[in-house]
């Protein structure tokens, strides 16, 4: 990075650290925080989408559909999320390869599951083994994202379902008495009103999502935890920057990063809540009406 970094062993302390902290691997470490943020940015809307689907299914008047929705929510509740994070990527991966195998190699005679092996023909590998490295990375990330969306979608479905139930029935009936169809009542009355009831739960979910992101490490993705372990471990004099075991400091940095993140999003949600409460028929909304800017 800097011109004086050619021979780090002869540098004074501050210059040594300047070189050390801008080395190639450290830049990868800083980028990995971007991976974490990207996961959160993508997982939140897609979990909301899954949640919406789940909540609508649970509310459905068609019995089997409502069973599916309710089972989805209850199942994720009874099982530790880590099991899903471990299970979903490998299960989906095998399912996709199985389907590709059926399509691309229909005349393959041998069984796919042999003893303790899972073998598909070379053309059915996803991604193809000839694909460049970034394709593999993106695929692994997409599978992780799917696992996060499934788990947090179930959480969100539960919150949204509760919020939809909490909208006063009288308001929906008023809509119907104006001659609105069920879809119109949903779109014009239920949807805008439910957010005030959903927001406390969703803000809590967002905090849980933040605190679940280090689990990306378990899925073999090179996230911040991976680099912290990698860079912090003791380096012998064979390395350009030898140092003893510094993992403690790296994990302290991660701790601070996450504390800042949860603290900042707590502030954002407080402001958002204030805005959503405006003009609502809830205790907080009433307080705002009486107290001016409350």
């Amino acid at each position: 990075m800097f011109s004086f970094c050619a021979d780090p062993s002869a540098l004074p302390t501050w210059q040594w650290f300047a070189c050390y902290l801008t080395s190639g691997t450290h830049l990868a470490f800083y980028w990995s925080f971007g991976t974490v943020l990207l996961l959160m940015a993508l997982a939140a809307p897609s979990a909301l989408l899954f949640g919406f689907g789940g909540a609508l299914a649970a509310r459905s008047h068609i019995l089997p559909v409502s069973w599916i929705g309710k089972t989805y929510v209850a199942m994720v509740r009874g099982v530790p999320d880590i099991i899903f994070f471990l299970f979903v990527p490998i299960a989906v991966d095998q399912a996709v390869e199985y389907l590709m195998h059926q399509v691309r190699c229909p005349d393959w005679a041998e069984p796919i599951r042999r003893g303790s092996d899972f073998v598909v023909c070379a053309a059915a590998k996803v991604p193809l083994s000839s694909a460049p490295r970034w394709v593999h990375d993106v695929y692994a990330f997409a599978l992780a994202l799917l696992a996060f969306s499934l788990v947090f979608g179930a959480f969100a479905a539960n919150t949204l379902y509760g919020a939809m139930q909490a909208v006063p029935k009288a308001q929906l009936e008023t809509g119907e008495s104006y001659g609105m169809s069920r879809a119109q009542v949903f779109r014009r009355i239920l949807l805008p009103q439910m957010w005030v009831f959903a927001l406390p739960g969703l803000s809590n979910l967002w905090q849980i999502l933040i605190k679940a992101t280090p689990l990306l490490f378990l899925l073999g993705i090179q996230d911040a935890v991976y680099w912290a372990r990698e860079l912090g471990g003791a380096k012998t004099s064979l390395f350009t920057y030898p140092h003893p075991d510094w993992r403690l400091w790296y994990f302290l940095a991660l701790l601070v990063f996450y504390l800042l993140l949860t603290w900042a999003s707590g502030l954002v949600f407080e402001r958002l809540m204030h805005r959503v409460n405006h003009g609502q028929a809830t205790a907080a909304g009433e307080r705002q009406r009486r107290g001016g800017r409350g």
């Binding site: 009874g78 099991i83 299970f87 490998i90 299960a91 739960g201 996450y258 504390l259």
Partner: protein
């Protein structure tokens, strides 16, 4: 195919999670793995999950009460540290806390702790803290104490004013007032959320053996074995559903147990008012 009968699996792996001495020294491998092996060994790993959850929740209950009272106190000497502790453990991921604690514990013996007792100096052995049974339990204890304290703190603040005024009117003060009025009401208000926290913590125990704490002699928790089998057989569709089923069953047991306590906490209320512990699954943590 496996050469063992189900009974032999039970004999060899029923208590294997406790250590090598409690069963077959080696885990089954590759094609030698039978369905019974998976069910037995994962069930045996569950012992660790139950141990971590029960001990951490039971110990944290008292610490959390103290923390909640501290955060609710007007004295900044108690209020500040309690609030900071709760913020620290609720604001950061448990996973990072595990890593951080493990790194700290591995550094301890090298630094060496000398407890000075005036005449004699005791060199405290801290090596056992790097083992999961103590180190991970310690982290889980602190973590759930922080979450529980926040729940208790919320409950403390929503104790009806009338209850406190009634206590004052009877001339109750200090410990009597706390023991007879504040504490029972706090527990009653907090109980549904506390149930939820206990479930969350039970599920969080699966993180222990993925977070730095090594599984000595291949004795780990339920998920450790489930992952072991998934890696060995390359088939996630057997071992993960087994471990999931175990957890669903034990979660139901937790809900039932906490429901019984909830009944006892509300036993003075008229039957119609008495709230059944509704487990609308809340994802509040």
């Amino acid at each position: 195919m496996s050469s063992r009968t189900c009974f032999e699996s039970l004999q060899q792996y029923g208590l294997r999670a406790l250590g090598r001495e409690f069963g077959a020294p080696l885990l089954p491998r590759g094609a030698d793995i039978s369905l019974c092996d998976q069910i037995v060994l994962i069930g045996s790993g569950l012992l660790w999950n139950v141990y971590f959850a029960v001990v951490a929740v039971a110990l944290a209950f008292f610490f959390a009460t103290a923390l909640a009272l501290g955060k609710n106190s007007h004295n900044p000497l108690f209020q500040r540290p309690s609030a900071a502790f709760i913020f620290l453990f609720r604001g950061s991921p448990l996973f990072i806390q595990f890593f951080l604690a493990y790194e700290t514990f591995t550094l301890l013996p090298r630094v060496g702790i000398d407890v000075n007792l005036g005449l004699v100096t005791l060199a405290a052995d801290t090596g056992w803290l790097t083992r999961a049974w103590a180190g991970a339990l310690f982290v889980l204890f602190l973590n759930t104490a922080a979450y529980t304290a926040e729940i208790f703190y919320g409950a403390l603040r929503s104790i009806p004013r009338g209850d406190l005024e009634a206590a004052d009117a009877y001339g109750m003060t200090g410990l009597t007032r706390f023991r007879r009025v504040v504490w029972p009401t706090m527990l009653r208000l907090a109980w549904p959320s506390y149930t939820n926290e206990a479930i969350f913590l039970f599920h969080a125990t699966t993180l222990v053996f993925f977070s730095g704490f090594p599984a000595w002699q291949q004795s780990g928790d339920a998920l450790y074995y489930a992952r072991y089998f998934a890696d060995q057989t390359f088939n996630p569709f057997v071992s993960y559903p087994i471990v999931a089923a175990y957890f669903v069953a034990l979660t139901l047991v937790i809900i039932m147990g906490f429901g019984l306590v909830n009944r006892r906490l509300n036993r003075h209320l008229p039957r119609a008012v008495r709230s059944r512990l509704k487990i609308r699954p809340q994802f509040i943590r």
